[in-house]
């Protein structure tokens, strides 16, 4: 196998977010190794094949690299998830209570009440899961943080949808509501939640499949 073919296979086997540095290092390593073999009198094609052989089977190298990078990525993802939780909980549950115009309904319609309660419950669960995940991520059991975090990320995404539905309904029914801060907050919050979920899913696909 040539170095280029090996690197292409390694690239396909690694999580998208983690492979840039790994591939760069692997490329330099393989070039050095092939040069050493050539200096020993081996033909260029055979030197490349020997370098690839010395580096190890793609599936083993990729699995170990992915598992190690996933631990670091989990930590980043947990911070994003916690940030998403904090971003929503404070502005959407604390600040609007006092600063935005009151909701247009005098008596809360049942569907709004149910949505609000549901979103609060989801957010509490998401916050607890994200906090647990963050705590685990910095311990020796850090690999266990990933399954906890994906649940938190899904909960954040679900809560974002519910909160967005409430926000849209609020703005629709209150013409005087300055809706750009609410819309901007919702959009940014949804984006953060999606980033948390997507980054987890992409970064840990390899870990889930192979471990």
């Amino acid at each position: 196998m040539t170095i280029d073919a090996y690197l292409a296979e390694l690239e396909r086997s690694l999580p998208r977010f983690s492979r840039r540095r790994i591939l760069a290092e692997a490329q330099e390593h393989l070039r050095d190794s092939a040069a050493t073999h050539r200096a020993a009198g081996v033909s260029p094609p055979a030197a490349e094949a020997a370098a690839v052989d010395d580096f190890g089977p793609v599936e083993i190298v990729a699995r170990r690299l992915a598992a190690e990078r996933a631990i670091r990525d989990t930590r980043i993802s947990t911070l994003v998830a916690l940030g998403a939780v904090a971003f929503f909980v404070f502005p959407l549950y604390v600040v609007p209570e006092n600063s935005l115009p009151p909701a247009p309904w005098v008596e809360k319609p049942r569907d709004i009440f149910v949505l609000q309660m549901l979103s609060v419950a989801i957010w509490l669960a998401a916050g607890a899961l994200a906090a647990v995940s963050a705590a685990i991520a910095w311990t020796r059991w850090s690999r266990l943080a990933a399954p906890v975090l994906v649940t938190a990320s899904a909960a954040i995404a679900g809560a974002s949808a519910v909160v967005a539905a409430i926000g849209v309904r609020w703005v629709e029914l209150t013409p005087a509501t300055p809706n750009w801060p609410l819309a901007a907050g919702l959009a940014l919050g949804c984006l953060l939640a999606c980033v948390a979920a997507a980054s987890w899913a992409l970064a840990h696909r390899q870990l889930l499949v192979q471990d």
Partner: protein
């Protein structure tokens, strides 16, 4: 020999970096040379170990230009030197005990 190295790769890498900063291939070559060819690692598996050591704050790394090429160079941190001393002491004690029993 590869199986026997399991659990010792971190110590080997820290020891190799004790002398001077090095990039991945250089580390593999250093280990091979110092062990007179006995430590013939699957070279690609050195990188997960280096990333783990970096995550734990025992080594630091950065891109550098070496011989006209861009390389990721690893170096021991202060914590890494401390850990290396601890692990060396443990290893010497273990090796003495093994030798006393086996020989």
């Amino acid at each position: 020999m590869r199986d026997a190295l399991k659990g010792h790769v971190d110590l080997l890498l820290l020891s190799a970096l004790d002398e001077k900063p090095a990039h991945g291939y250089e580390l593999v070559e250093t280990l091979r040379a110092r062990s007179e060819g006995a430590f013939d690692l699957a070279e690609g598996t050195v990188y997960p170990s280096l990333y783990r050591l970096e995550r734990r704050g025992l080594v630091a790394s950065g891109w550098d230009t070496v011989s006209g090429r861009r390389r990721r160079v690893y170096r021991l941190t202060k914590n890494g030197r401390g850990r290396l001393q601890e692990e060396r002491s443990k290893w010497h004690a273990f090796a003495r005990a093994m030798e006393a029993v086996v020989t």
